[in-house]
């Protein structure tokens, strides 16, 4: 195991461990409002300062990690599997199936899904628990986020279908299903890993943006996405550098995921 990969494992374990131990590590609950210390800079009491209504940012980062770090990769996995199934299978089958699947994919890419999400929110009761809301949000993101990868996978699987080794395997009488899982899917891994890696931060940010529709993590619960949204109000970069900590943490986690995936990529290669 390379140094980077070991480091990635340690970082991820630390981040996950810290988030699970938030009850002990955080100086206060994520919802506790220090109304006399709003927008405070980092101090001994508040390591990362406080937000606009005086909530300890460090506590919010820790608790927010629990939700984002568990649910975003799960949704990313769902979208990756859907992409593999739809794109990979369509490319492997080829012909009219591929054309139809790709037409549906193109349609999926173009439709204003915002309105489906608005409808989904309308179907949910207003007094829904924040956890259910965030779970539904990530599920929807997973179900809608597969299209780009499916398109690339369809082309890759199409190339594989026409390749010599697949033709030979087919001529040797290997059943289609086995051929797909044993020879086609492993060759799709570079695209699948890319899709999985990209989806994690994309879904984390999308969750925060869906707050405008009443979806996502409801107040007062924190998420990485909602913490990153604080950056949208900055008019100069040097003003409050501690607000960048959630961004740095997300970059570190996402990079760590990539190091873990790169091991798999090497094995696949």
């Amino acid at each position: 195991m390379s140094f980077w990969r070991k480091l990635a494992c340690v970082v991820l374990a630390l981040v996950l461990g810290a988030s699970l131990a938030a009850n002990w590590l955080a100086p206060a609950g994520y919802a506790r409002q220090y109304r006399d210390a709003t927008n405070a800079p980092p101090s001994r009491t508040h390591w990362l300062g406080t937000d606009e209504i005086g909530r300890d940012r460090f506590a919010r980062v820790l608790y927010g990690t629990r939700i984002s770090l568990l649910l975003a990769p799960a949704a990313a996995l769902l979208s990756t599997l859907m992409a593999a199934l739809i794109g990979g299978l369509a490319g492997y089958l080829g012909g009219i199936w591929a054309r139809m699947a790709m037409a549906v994919t193109d349609l999926f890419m173009s439709l204003p899904w915002l309105f489906l999400l608005i409808t989904a929110r309308a179907l949910m009761p207003l007094n829904v628990s924040p956890l259910v809301s965030v779970f539904v949000t990530f599920l929807l993101l997973g179900l809608l986020g597969w299209t780009a990868a499916a398109r690339v996978l369809c082309t890759t699987a199409g190339s594989l279908r026409a390749s010599d080794f697949v033709r030979q395997a087919r001529a040797a009488g290997l059943p289609g299903r086995k051929l797909f899982w044993v020879h086609v899917v492993p060759n799709l891994k570079p695209v699948l890993y890319a899709q999985f890696w990209i989806s994690i931060p994309v879904f984390i940010l999308s969750e925060a943006n869906l707050g405008i529709l009443g979806l996502g993590v409801a107040e007062p619960m924190p998420s990485w996405g909602s913490l990153l949204k604080e950056l949208e109000g900055l008019v100069s970069l040097g003003e409050e550098p501690w607000k960048f900590v959630p961004l740095i943490l997300l970059v570190v986690v996402v990079t760590s995921f990539q190091f873990l995936l790169s091991r798999q990529e090497e094995l696949a290669a």
């Binding site: 109304r35 606009e52 209504i53 207003l126 829904v128 924040p130 529709l213 009443g214 107040e219 007062p220």
Partner: protein
């Protein structure tokens, strides 16, 4: 008969007005002396104007353009809140409040050179009162069934008769920009200080000086001083602030409190806090009998004791201090103290007292069990507050209220929704429990809020379209509002509306939270600016402003 401004002859500010106006004139004169004539004023509109037709205006952006380009018969001075002559040199309202007569200026022309006369006023009124127009300006004049009659007495005299008394009739003309009957340019021919010269949808609107504008300064120089105004369409406040800091913009209206404080540290001379504005933020519960919420929740929401207890458990000082950084005042009632004429000064803001609130609830049958409040049937007191997403002040107020109410065992779920979804729940499906929203008041007169307070109205938000008033206090409000609307005696009207304010504070159908301060920023290059609380805050005296070279 009331008469206003009969002695005022010329186009300058009236003598004998408040000292502030004199100072303003002096300021603008000095500014003008320091700066050169001309120049371009630049600021942002926060949305695309929906129309350039002044009679159809129903959004802020179009309203700003109407203010800058439209010529009106009378103008509410945004600083003194008093009415001043515009295209009309004088006017009279009949005792019964049904008729108004204007004596107009002569020798005035539209921006394309077409002469202005009483015929244009008659034409404008006919267009405005067209039943098919459906504009808020026109509807403000509709107090009863029947036609509006205009009588052109001479090219400079006109009288307008309404089918029923219209309260505060003369002030309503502040919103009526006069159209030309004969100009081929239709609504683009204007009588205001500026005219629309170029419009790039989604990007900019360029207003140029109207060469035919009638007003002159004390030295007899034609107003406005500015050559042009460039309005950039920019909904994002962060970008607006960035551009202001870079010197690309000269004004910011309704400045964000955080940016106000940041600017106040580095350039205190650029920011202006004009004090509490007319706007209010309020919370209300769904009291609609046919709404799809559980019956026991309807019982809570329809109880004045419950509403008062909630109001008492909300820390308004914290809302002002934390959410608005101190740039807001705890609200008292329907009208802000900033409304010098109509505010009931006997009323005081609700004090914060969660212990008292809990006692009142317990006296009404509620009880605390393991830190959660339950009603007499054992239902835990849980409700949701919805508000429009993207409004960070409302979102933060909701979170603070959530925390405040938790202290008396009430669990609140905060849900932010996009505005159309929120309006649908509020006005059609009634599928909500509580809402935080604001009222943007442009009117000083309570008549402008008639549709909020009448129980039969669509905008009686907590329980609209009641066939007959469902409570005695709503019946009383109906009676008082109608009484003040049909009277032209200001004292009687004030007494009636004072009582309305008292009832609203007693019953709390709206739990008024805060009145935001009117914050603005004006670049050092602008001379003569005197930001006020009334819209359009910073550029209400645009014709007197000058911009020095940057």
């Amino acid at each position: 008969m009331k008469s206003h401004g009969e002695k005022l002859k010329q186009s300058i500010h009236p003598s004998g007005k408040a000292v502030a106006v004199a100072l303003l004139c002096l300021g603008s004169f000095l500014g003008h002396a320091l700066a050169q004539d001309g120049g371009e004023l630049r600021f942002c509109l926060h949305s695309e104007p929906k129309t350039f037709d002044p009679l159809k205006v129903d959004d802020d952006a179009s309203g700003a353009i109407r203010y800058l380009t439209g010529g009106v018969l009378v103008r509410v001075n945004r600083q003194t809140q008093e009415l001043e002559p515009g295209l009309a040199m004088s006017w009279k309202v009949s005792k019964d409040g049904r008729q108004i007569s204007f004596r107009l200026r002569s020798g005035v022309s539209f921006s394309d050179g077409t002469p202005f006369s009483a015929e244009d006023v008659a034409y404008t009124i006919q267009q405005l009162m067209d039943p098919a127009l459906h504009s808020s300006t026109g509807d403000s004049f509709r107090s009863g069934a029947g036609n509006v009659e205009t009588k052109v007495i001479s090219p400079t005299q006109i009288s307008i008769r309404f089918p029923a008394p219209v309260a505060g009739l003369d002030r309503l003309f502040d919103y009526v920009a006069i159209l030309s009957e004969r100009s081929p340019k239709r609504e683009m021919a204007v009588l205001g200080p500026f005219m629309v010269s170029d419009y790039k949808p989604g990007s900019t609107i360029l207003l140029k000086r109207n060469p035919y504008y009638w007003k002159t300064d004390e030295q007899g120089r034609k107003l406005p001083y500015l050559d042009s105004i460039r309005l950039d369409i920019q909904p994002n406040r962060d970008v607006e602030m960035l551009r202001f800091k870079r010197g690309e913009l000269d004004l910011i209206n309704s400045l964000d409190t955080e940016y106000f404080d940041k600017l106040a540290v580095t350039s205190p001379q650029l920011v202006h806090d004009a004090g509490a504005s007319l706007d209010s933020e309020q919370l209300w519960f769904n009291e609609v009998a046919r709404s799809p919420i559980p019956g026991y929740k309807k019982n809570w929401f329809r109880s004045a004791i419950f509403r008062r207890a909630i109001s008492e458990a909300i820390n308004r000082d914290d809302l002002s201090r934390v959410v608005f950084h101190g740039h807001a005042q705890p609200a008292v009632g329907p009208f802000s103290p900033a409304n010098k004429i109509w505010f009931n000064s006997k009323l005081k803001p609700q004090s914060y007292n969660p212990d008292e609130a809990l006692k009142e609830l317990q006296a009404d049958g509620f009880r605390m069990e393991n830190g959660a409040l339950k009603d007499k049937d054992g239902n835990e007191v849980v409700f949701s507050i919805i508000t429009n997403a993207g409004n960070k002040y409302r979102e933060r107020m909701a979170v603070l209220i959530q925390d405040d109410l938790q202290k008396i065992g009430i669990h609140v779920n905060v849900v932010t929704l996009d505005f159309p979804s929120l309006i649908e729940r509020m006005t059609q499906s009634f599928d909500y429990e509580a809402i935080i929203l604001g009222l943007t008041n442009v009117d000083l007169d309570p008549n402008g809020e008639m549709n909020v307070w009448l129980s039969s109205s669509e905008n009686h938000q907590w329980n609209p379209q009641q066939k007959t008033p469902e409570t005695t206090w709503e019946a009383e409000i109906d009676r008082l509002m109608r009484a003040q609307a049909s009277s032209s005696d200001l004292k009687k009207r004030k007494e009636a509306f004072d009582r309305v304010q008292e009832i609203v504070v007693e019953q709390e159908p709206f739990i008024f939270l805060i009145n935001k301060n009117a914050l603005s920023a004006v670049s050092a290059a602008v001379h003569g600016a005197a930001p006020v609380i009334l819209l359009p805050q910073t550029f209400w005296n645009a014709e007197w402003l000058t911009v020095s070279e940057k």
